[in-house]
Amino acid sequence: MIGRKGFAREKEDPMLKVREAWALVGARTDRGKVERILSKLGIENGLDRALERGQ
């Protein structure tokens, strides 16, 4: 979303920051809540897709 529309869109891997942040705080994050909010925005499995590259 904003990562793909903001400054990060120019990067080869705009979701790298997401994965880096997930490594730092993902264990304490309510993943279901993230997906529920994304779903309200019409985005399904958005976090999964953001995290999948590099796995």
Binding site: I2, K5, A21
Partner: protein
Amino acid sequence: MIEPPPVTPTLHEAAEWIIRALKDEDFPVLLCGRSALDYQGEYTGSVDVDILIGTDFRGALSVLDAYADRGDLFPVGAVPGSVVRYLVRGDKLVDVMTVSSVHPDLFNILRREASTPLDMGTAGEVRAVTREGYFVLPS
């Protein structure tokens, strides 16, 4: 307009100052990005400040332009319609963003469901996105 920022602001002082400048004109703001998490006790090592504007993005930019004209801020880049990057006093990096182009209600959803109040000193209470809000934004 509020007074100029400190001459060599810390990242916190830069955040406090620009939030106060925006709140002074009644713009609803949300602190986001890694700095928002750091304020909530995480240690992500943020080196900039990200601020979401809830309404009238162009109006907010016009307010900040006035501070830029005074020499308080330096615009250093933009993604038209979504992000403008400033240096406060030519030093501390601040991104000012709108999310209305992503979803018209995203700001309110984040404020309602994925943010928490923070005491930002002279800027007063400011809502900051939680970990969950952080991952909603760039996903």
